[in-house]
């Protein structure tokens, strides 16, 4: 997509003159104006990004009550208290549980969907738009809609279960069931998005690899697992990391899924309270304990880093053996 040079006749370039006349100014310009252009980012990020980041850590070392007059330094006390806090561990398990239940099927479904979309289709753009449309809706709105779909009495899901002869499920008050319902929302929103990313990578795979595999007698399924999936590994890792970062930060869906009294707890017995919700519960209403909330935020950050690293390690291991060029060591 390079832009064409202008179409003026080659005689025109009047090289020396205009440059010399404004030589000083232009040297100043090329030297310093780049900093001017990137300054807004660093200004905004410095004030509203970097400073808060460091400050969160500072706050987390204090007994910082919003209403309190002074904020005594308590060192690591917030962290030690947090590690002994059963509600924190409960929220951690919820977060990881919802994350696993949602991410694994989501990526598998996306892979499958991308494979479908990678065929000679009529109305290609139409299909792509159809699978992406969940991604461009309002999260809060959709969480409300799903909250009704997963309702106990008149919810459509329980009605469908009843049609096939299954018992109704208490989606909002059963811990595991609420995880599944929230995962369903997350998957509904993100499967199509991931499918498009994987599709883009699939289209970059050279066709002759498949022809060669077909000549070697590989079936369509075998081709998919032995050619497509290994070559998609970097993209799959990318999708997994994005899903990890998003999944562990989950807030809007579980928050809106539970309405009524004290929804920030994620149900009467904290059935689906995620870490972010726990942070909000402590830092804002009802507790307003900023020090404790900040400690939760930092542990959440650590968790994201750890899970992302583990993901990368697992995926490297998994894909390594199947890679067609592995023996040549092209990627080492």
């Amino acid at each position: 997509m390079t832009v064409q040079l202008d179409a003026r006749p080659p005689a025109t370039p009047a090289t020396g003159n205009p440059r010399q006349s404004s030589g000083r100014l232009s040297r100043f310009d090329t030297r310093f104006s780049p900093y001017l252009y990137i300054a807004p980012f660093f200004l905004i990020f410095g004030v509203f990004g970097a400073y808060p980041l460091a400050y969160t850590f500072w706050v987390s070392l204090h007994d910082w009550d919003l209403l309190g007059a002074d904020h005594p330094f308590v060192g690591a006390e917030n962290y030690t208290r947090l590690l002994a806090d059963t509600d924190f561990w409960h929220a951690l398990v919820n977060t990881l549980g919802i994350f696993v239940i949602s991410t694994v099927p989501q990526l598998l479904a996306a892979l499958w969907l991308a494979n479908l979309l990678n065929r000679g289709l009529r109305a290609r753009t139409g299909w792509r738009m159809a699978v992406l449309v969940p991604n461009v809706t309002s999260t809060a709105a959709v969480a409300i809609v799903f909250g009704v779909l997963f309702g106990r009495e008149f919810g459509m899901i329980n009605w469908l279960l009843d049609l096939v002869g299954l018992d109704a499920i208490e989606w909002k008050s059963n811990r595991l069931a609420s995880w599944v319902a929230i995962s369903a929302m997350v998957d509904w929103r993100w499967t199509g998005y991931n499918a498009l990313i994987l599709l883009a990578a699939m289209q970059a795979i050279p066709r002759d690899l498949y022809e060669a595999a077909a000549i070697d007698g590989a079936s369509r399924v075998r081709q998919f697992w032995s050619v497509t999936v290994p070559l998609l590994k970097p993209t799959i890792i990318f999708c997994t990391i994005i899903a990890t970062i998003g999944g562990l930060q989950l807030f809007t869906e579980p928050r809106m899924f539970h309405s009524g009294t004290n929804p920030i707890r994620g149900g009467p017995l904290r059935e689906s309270q995620t870490l972010t919700m726990y942070m909000f519960e402590n830092a804002f209403a009802p507790h307003y304990n900023f020090g404790y909330g900040s400690a939760v935020a930092w542990l959440l950050f650590a968790l994201i880093a750890i899970v992302a690293a583990v993901n990368v390690l697992i995926l490297r291991r998994l894909g390594g053996g199947a890679r067609p060029n592995a023996r040549k060591g092209t990627t080492r």
Partner: protein, 277 residues
């Protein structure tokens, strides 16, 4: 497309199911929004629109707890301002990173990429304290100013500028006596237009959809964004579901409209971003 994988009827069937699952919750949102509250108790549930949309809208805008109209206006102001600003500043910085040489360029770009990894949660509490000091709590600058330019925007523009604009073109403009500002305006910006459109669309959608930070900082129920109006609606003591769904439908409508108009560009942007990432 090569004849290697021509789609079979089975493929189409699977895609119809996938598309159906994708679209159904949205469709159903509009169905309930256009019916009376009886629709919620009916089994089997109705799947076609009714004639109650006007009455539901009237009830929604009369609801004094939700401040829905204020929410809509606020969201429009916030999303528009942020979009224009992000596109403007990102195209400037992206141009600088892609096409200008300066000391510390690579290190600074690395910082920008690193900022994309930091979760918002980490900043919420101190940002809240900062907003209190600035007296921006409950006011729109609190949700606008921190995202006037984003690492994602800068990075995206830099990637696009790197491949869309040839160095010769910039060199030629320089020969003609253009300063960098004029080069940006006359050469770079026109070439960046497709990427700017995609960035603008994505930014608008993200900002319109944002919930976490507005939820933290806009506590005054009389001055919400539209997403916060939805929260007020759905947390209400008495659940008037067709009114709530009318709210969700209206809050989703601008996003759907953008998607219908620019879906092709959005898809292209997502897929292109993936290959380069």
């Amino acid at each position: 497309m090569s004849r290697l994988w021509r789609a079979s009827p089975l493929t189409y069937l699977a895609l119809v199911v996938a598309a159906g699952l994708s679209v159904f919750p949205i469709w159903w949102m509009f169905v309930v929004a256009s019916r009376s509250n009886d629709a919620m108790g009916q089994l089997p549930p109705p799947v076609t629109p009714g004639g109650n949309l006007g009455a539901n809208i009237a009830r929604l805008f009369d609801n004094t707890d939700a401040y829905f109209l204020t929410g809509l206006i606020n969201s429009a102001v916030v999303a528009t301002t942020v979009t224009v600003s992000v596109v403007f500043f990102s195209s400037l910085a992206g141009f600088a990173f892609a096409k200008l040489r300066f000391r510390g360029r690579n290190a600074m770009l690395l910082v920008i990429i690193a900022t994309m990894m930091v979760p918002t949660q980490l900043g919420v509490i101190p940002l809240y304290l900062l907003m209190t000091k600035l007296h921006w709590n409950d006011r729109l600058p609190a949700v606008i100013v921190p995202v006037l330019v984003t690492g994602f925007g800068v990075f995206m523009m830099r990637q696009y500028a790197g491949q869309a604009i040839s160095d010769e073109l910039i060199e030629a403009a320089r020969m003609d006596g253009c300063g960098t500002a004029r080069i940006w305006w006359h050469v770079v910006l026109p070439a960046l237009r497709p990427a700017a459109a995609v960035l603008g669309l994505l930014t608008f959608m993200t900002t319109w959809n944002d919930f976490l930070w507005p939820y933290a900082v806009l506590n005054d129920p009389a001055n919400p964004t539209v997403q916060l109006s939805l929260r007020a609606l759905s947390d209400g003591y008495y659940q008037d579901m067709s009114q709530v769904f009318t709210g969700t439908a209206i809050a989703t409508l601008p996003l759907l409209l953008v998607f219908v108009l620019f879906g092709r560009q959005i898809i292209g942007g997502i897929m292109e971003g993936a290959v380069k990432a």
